[in-house]
């Protein structure tokens, strides 16, 4: 007698959301390779991108396993269209100037690290294991981003102005990461993932402190821009995927 095992769709979504955030941000950050303002920053950014690609691979492998239809991490990365992507809108925002890239990274890291710390105690051991590996990398990313945000915010007139502009542009996208929907509520109830509201509160308090040190002002009442977690993306994601997926689309199954 065989019983059809039902896919845990909420868990599948969690793995996609974590994996897609990492993958899309890595694709964005990776574009700086060879173009960063200093060799040291160039290598540091490439390191961050590679860390995130490694994490994306773990999350998307888990997603494929949960789904149970035989899709690999590569299948999920290269053969899904924008509407099937579950990353938050923040990570698909353009690189802009270096200030935008650093601010996007910082807003993401400030959420990502506490999220991974919480996921280390997930009731699902596979989730906890991936979080355990990724958390150490995210801790370094956050340390580095925080440092740069404070240095450049509380820096020269020009660097402060650029950081402030980047914060104004990107802050509305930060809230989506901690905005819980039915999937998040279900996962929190089953202790697979933390209450996103708690993560959000901790994150907001932390951001406030860092922005004060950086002499930057977060917008007081910015509307939260969201939709990415449910697959409703900004116009940017299509271009990212066109670039990232070109090879597999043009030459299906190509390997080297």
């Amino acid at each position: 007698m065989t019983t059809a095992i039902k896919t845990d769709t909420a868990l599948f979504d969690l793995a996609l959301r974590m994996g897609d955030n990492a993958l899309i941000l890595a694709q964005r950050v990776g574009a700086w390779c060879g173009h960063a303002p200093a060799l040291e920053e160039d290598i540091a950014l490439a390191n961050v991108a590679l860390d995130l690609i490694g994490q994306a691979k773990m999350w998307l492998s888990l997603a494929g396993e949960i789904e149970g239809k035989g899709r690999s991490a590569d299948d999920l990365a290269f053969l899904r269209d924008a509407r099937q992507y579950r990353n938050a809108l923040l990570v698909e925002q353009p690189n802009g100037d270096f200030a935008h890239t650093l601010m996007r990274q910082f807003l993401f890291d400030a959420w990502h690290h506490p999220m991974l710390v919480a996921l280390k105690s997930s009731a699902d051991k596979r989730v906890a294991d991936i979080a355990g590996k990724a958390e150490k990398e995210a801790r370094y990313h956050l340390e580095r981003s925080e440092d740069l945000i404070i240095r450049l915010g509380d820096g020269t007139e020009e660097s402060r102005q650029r950081m402030q502009t980047a914060l104004g542009a990107l802050y509305p996208f930060a809230g989506e990461l901690s905005a819980a929907d039915a999937v998040d509520a279900d996962l929190a109830a089953r202790k697979i993932a933390p209450d996103l509201g708690d993560i959000g509160k901790g994150c907001a308090a932390y951001l406030k402190g860092v922005f004060a040190d950086a002499t930057l002002n977060a917008p007081e009442s910015a509307a939260v821009r969201k939709g990415g977690k449910q697959g409703l993306h900004s116009e940017h994601l299509g271009y990212i995927l066109a670039d990232m997926q070109f090879l597999q689309r043009a030459y299906p199954g190509a390997t080297w």
Binding site: A38, L39, E40, I43, A44, N47, Y140, E143, R144, D147, R151
Partner: protein
């Protein structure tokens, strides 16, 4: 360029028990960033357990032109090597 970051020399300890070794140099605005940059530039392949950085300008080096007076005199003084002593067996490996 006047605004360029100062140069730092980087020393990495590969394993516990070994000494820090000079691995190269990099630019950074201050010591804290120099350590971070050193981590990113020089420990990508699991090379280290500890990092030292020192401003290149703070290192005083011997002049290459002084090589002869500094080093040649020790060339022919083989009696400074402890190879003329008989070491008792029971001492073992020194």
């Amino acid at each position: 360029m006047k605004n360029e970051w100062p140069l730092w020399e980087v020393f990495i300890r590969g394993q516990h028990g070994l000494a820090h070794r000079h691995v190269g140099s990099l630019h950074a605005p201050d010591a804290e960033m120099a350590v971070k940059n050193a981590r990113d530039v020089y420990t990508r392949r699991n090379e280290g357990v500890s990092i030292w950085v020192v401003k290149a300008i703070d290192i005083t080096a011997s002049a290459p032109g002084d090589k002869e007076p500094l080093f040649d005199p020790s060339n022919a003084k083989i009696y400074r090597h402890p190879t003329f002593y008989d070491i008792p067996e029971e001492v073992g490996h020194m």
